[in-house]
Symmetry: C2
Amino acid sequence: MSPWVRTIFGKIEGEVKVSVAVVGASGAVGREVVGLLERYDQVDLRVFGSERSAGTTLPWRGGDIAIELLTESDLSANNLVFMTATSELSSLFARKTASFGNYVIDNSSCFRMDPNVPLVIPEINFESIKTGDRLIANPNCCTIILLMAVAPLRKLGGIKRIIVSTYQSASGAGREAMDELEQSTKAALEGKEFEPTVLPHPYAFNLFSHNTPIDDSGYNGEETKIIAETRKILSDSEIGVNPTCIRVPILRAHSESITVEFEDFAPDEEAVRRVLRDFPGVRVVDDRDGNHFPMPVEASGQADVLVGRIRRDPSNPRAVSMFACGDQLLKGAALNAVQIADRLLGFS
Amino acid sequence: MSPWVRTIFGKIEGEVKVSVAVVGASGAVGREVVGLLERYDQVDLRVFGSERSAGTTLPWRGGDIAIELLTESDLSANNLVFMTATSELSSLFARKTASFGNYVIDNSSCFRMDPNVPLVIPEINFESIKTGDRLIANPNCCTIILLMAVAPLRKLGGIKRIIVSTYQSASGAGREAMDELEQSTKAALEGKEFEPTVLPHPYAFNLFSHNTPIDDSGYNGEETKIIAETRKILSDSEIGVNPTCIRVPILRAHSESITVEFEDFAPDEEAVRRVLRDFPGVRVVDDRDGNHFPMPVEASGQADVLVGRIRRDPSNPRAVSMFACGDQLLKGAALNAVQIADRLLGFS
């Protein structure tokens, strides 16, 4: 078990068993959810996957757990269900499963913008979950990492506009994209040809605009998610967001270059560092003398979102800039989902 | 010879021989300058390097040319000198060499902010070179790529502010950094340890804030160069610039995510595309349906700066955003220097 799991959860003991299902357990996010759940004594786990993965196993509490093929009835008897497969599967199963009184934490984009479904980053808006809510949406990975850096700053003044350029890792496109990055890079170093099959562009020593469709406004699907989800999570339909989403040849941590414009004047740097240091789930990495700031190699496998390069914007007296890194599979996905469940079920 | 050289220069014929020297010829930029000069029949070349490279050879017109150890007198007899070594060497030799009436194109940062030295991107401010000027400074690579995308937009309205996040390649730190990126990536893929010696942070599947020192404002040396050089090249001491400079694991092309705020209203996208298409040295790559935008693999080895993702900024009615890629060693350095010389000496 990686040390950060202990840091977050410690050893969780519980008398009452909770029946938990992970759907899409063999995927990049599903595996991380299973790994995080290992620490909870209460969890009585079943894992589900597609026909391709059914019958294979995942490591579980020193042994193995077999991935089962999903049928609808399998989910109705679980107290807690993590949906980490496709939006299509979520649209088929999530609402019905929740209607039986089970908690469903949905990692897909299927219900995120549904006004009746809370979209939650626990440190920021856990209180948006109302009594009786059973279906909870887990935000987009870039949105989570962005808002972990930005939301704490609201203590210092109203925020008017966010400009963000992302440096997104392969993991956001799944395990196959991570494999393609490694394999294509190996081929490039050996001077061999490589035909990408997972992503639409060469990935070895290359970067490209996020490969979701572009709408008439010129923004791709990833960017429009960031805009809409930011407004919903911050309960601020007016806040301006200008994202540029770029995939870089990094394995599993996203980075983001962020400029925040306040309504009035920008707070001083030390005030920004202070509210970030006080915020759970954020670690300030801002060593100017040592030229040490957030980096994917240091964010990978970590629970915290790293934030640094905190400084006033010389081009606007109301703005500050920052650079953030977070593990896309953990706080960007699996960890945030498990944290929602942890608080909902009063585990720890 | 790579095809783009033909595209730019065609075959250059000339009666009068011009004595040309390249100082730092074995470096990443120096080699590119030598490669570009091959096409000029007029050029009578000498190449100089440090004790480490003196005696080795570079390819030249189908044969080889030997790198000589530099002494001061070697430079005084050349009509045209490219300084592509260190700032220290430029400070020792550049001004004196120019004082003999020779043209000196200096690629270092040594003289860029000297009010008596023109800082030139030929497509943008060639006219800043006055009669009698002999020492010309070549701008920082990020500045060149940024302004090739931004300067054409001045036709559409006054520009108030530029926010730019860079995705910078290894080549900006020299050949050794390119080697370190390749070697450390190979080690990472083989699961081996690698101790970086050229750059201060791991580079394999990692990115990090530019490793120049940070000043009291919180900006690093690369960023303060972009701010100051942009103001000088655009002759606009008021223009706001907020850069974030990040090194990504890419070999030789820089990318930049750019937001431009106009004084009044933002132009429409098609007007932006039109002025960019009309600008020499820029190629618009902005295929929304095909999800095809500027990428390092397509910018590498090319003369043009690629610009795309052109769109209105939904968070500010006065702003547009773009994404640009350019070959750091070519338009970002060697090609810009050779273009300055080409126009100065009336070669083509």
